[in-house]
């Protein structure tokens, strides 16, 4: 009895179902209410879009299913025909109606100034000149660093050889810091280094 009633109610529903209405509405994204709200969809890309059925998908009224009865429990559209969410969007939108505050001035670098046009002017002077001058003589900087490239211990010891007396007379606190650092580095380089050197114990 219970089942018969259900069938009767279902049969009335079946008459109202028209499968064509479903396909036309859902396959057209323009009519769908939620998809219309996405702005600049063409440029921006939407998080929500429908997955359209393939062209080879089985359509009602064709193929094996031609003479099957219509039922409301059967999907007239392909399985898993649902919304797809994606977190990938397109590029950012232009800031058209927004005020730009605190805009830093952009200065172009002058690549033809007196300094940058002839930057490497006399680098080959020991070849193309007399041979009395070397490009090392052109470097400007502290005297203990011209023509010298070494790790921190070597640099500090060389600094003491050049500027030790001056620092002892005028800047004793700075000299004390240098000596402390030399003591620390001597132990670090000579006692704390093994086959595999960690970043902490590299020669810098």
């Amino acid at each position: 009895m219970f089942i018969v009633r259900k069938f009767c109610s279902i049969a009335t529903l079946c008459k109202t179902i028209k499968p064509t209405n479903f396909t036309e509405k859902l396959f057209k994204q323009q009519d769908h209410p939620t998809l219309c709200l996405t702005a600049a969809k063409q440029f921006h890309g939407s998080a929500v879009h429908l997955r359209e059925p393939k062209q080879d998908a089985i359509v009602i009224g064709d193929g094996d299913r031609k003479y099957e009865p219509q039922s409301p429990y059967r999907r007239h559209w392909p399985k898993r025909f649902q919304f797809v969410t994606s977190t990938r969007f397109g590029p950012t939108l232009p800031r058209v109606n927004k005020e730009l505050k605190h805009q830093l001035p952009f200065n172009y670098k002058d690549k033809w100034s007196d300094k940058s046009a002839l930057q490497g002017a006399n680098d080959y002077i020991d070849i193309l000149g007399d041979g009395t001058i070397h490009p090392v003589d052109l470097i400007k900087g502290p005297a203990f660093l011209i023509g010298y490239n070494a790790n921190e211990l070597g640099r500090l010891n060389r600094r003491l050889r050049f500027e030790g007396r001056y620092l002892a007379d005028n800047f004793p606190s700075e000299l004390e810091k240098i000596l402390k650092r030399i003591k620390f580095l001597r132990k670090k380089y000579n006692y704390k280094r093994g086959k595999r050197v960690r970043k902490r114990f590299k020669y810098r």
């Binding site: 046009a117 080959y124 070849i127 193309l128 070397h134």
Partner: protein
């Protein structure tokens, strides 16, 4: 004893003294250059201007047959299996392009195999060997901070600590940061630098950006003259003029002072980076001879042959 004899020999053979070199290096302002040039001309005998040698173009105008059409140059130690390359001899005396003759160029300098790795190493060396990095961050011992405990071990809800110099604090030390002024100095072997110059020159010749000129003398002081000259010959937006010595003719210095992309250099100022930065390279005849002589001398030089010369005192680098 040996060093003293070497110094005497080199002192007698010096062509470009050190004073002129220093003047070129340190006095970049145009006002100073003008004063030096005018002083030089007044110091010398005023009759020397009349006794100056006429340029090839002036000779050509007077008597076209006196100037030969083809001038072949003597190339030293030319490989008999390699043919010398040829280039036109042009003038700056007129806006139009008149060719005065044809020259031979040494293939071991102007027709070297294009080695891009040598060019890259030269450019990198030019950029980095002069650099000194002044970044410095303090370590725990460099901070002037009292050694006392900041707060009692227990009681406050905060983490436990000792000094204000510890790494966890915002105003504390940076343990593995840059330390001290550091030099990024290194020297390329001499052959790498010699071959770098040769490859740059051969690139310029092969790409039709090399022009040889009899001299850098110009009839007028006008900057428009040189602009028209470069526009008619399609030499590009940037040009590098190379002469034999420091002292340049005054007209060209006044004219090129207004163009930042047209620059003058003597031969000892040539380098790979400036050759590649400027589109065209313009050499004088005397400059070409000097360059060839120097580069061939150094390309065949080794430690055995340079034992008793002043070059070896820089061998520590």
């Amino acid at each position: 004893m040996l060093g003293q004899t070497c110094r005497k020999i080199t002192g007698s053979l010096n062509v470009s003294p050190r004073i002129e070199f220093k003047r070129y290096l340190w006095r970049n302002s145009i006002c100073q250059q003008k004063i030096d040039i005018t002083l030089k001309y007044t110091d010398e005998a005023s009759g020397s201007i009349a006794n100056k040698e006429p340029t090839l173009y002036e000779k050509f105008l007077k008597n076209p047959k006196s100037v030969p059409l083809i001038t072949s140059r003597k190339l030293e130690n030319c490989n008999k299996y390699r043919q010398p390359r040829q280039a036109w001899l042009e003038t700056l005396s007129t806006v139009e392009d008149h060719k005065l003759g044809m020259l031979d160029l040494h293939p071991d300098i102007f027709a070297v195999h294009p080695r891009l790795d040598i060019l890259y190493h030269n450019l990198r060396w030019q950029e980095f060997y002069k650099k000194i990095d002044y970044n410095w961050t303090p370590s725990r011992g460099d901070l002037d901070v009292s050694g006392g405990k900041q707060m009692p071990q227990k009681g406050s809800g905060r983490a436990r600590n000792r000094n204000r110099s510890s790494i966890m604090f915002r105003t504390g030390a940076k343990p593995l940061g840059p330390k001290g002024p550091r030099a990024l100095f290194y020297m390329l072997p001499k052959q790498y630098r010699v071959q770098g110059l040769c490859t740059a020159l051969s690139f310029k010749y092969a790409q039709n950006n090399l022009h040889i000129v009899d001299s850098l003398e110009i009839p007028t002081d006008d900057p428009e003259y040189i602009q028209d000259l470069i526009d008619t010959r399609f030499w590009g937006f940037s040009a590098l003029f190379v002469d034999d010595t420091d002292y340049m003719p005054e007209n060209i210095t006044y004219a090129l002072a207004e163009f930042p992309s047209y620059n003058i250099l003597p031969v000892y100022g040539l380098n790979v980076r400036d050759m590649l930065k400027h589109e065209t390279l313009i050499l004088t005849l005397a400059a070409v001879e000097k360059i060839e002589q120097k580069l061939l001398f150094h390309s065949s030089r080794n430690k055995r042959s340079s034992r008793f010369s002043m070059d070896t005192r820089y061998d520590q680098y």
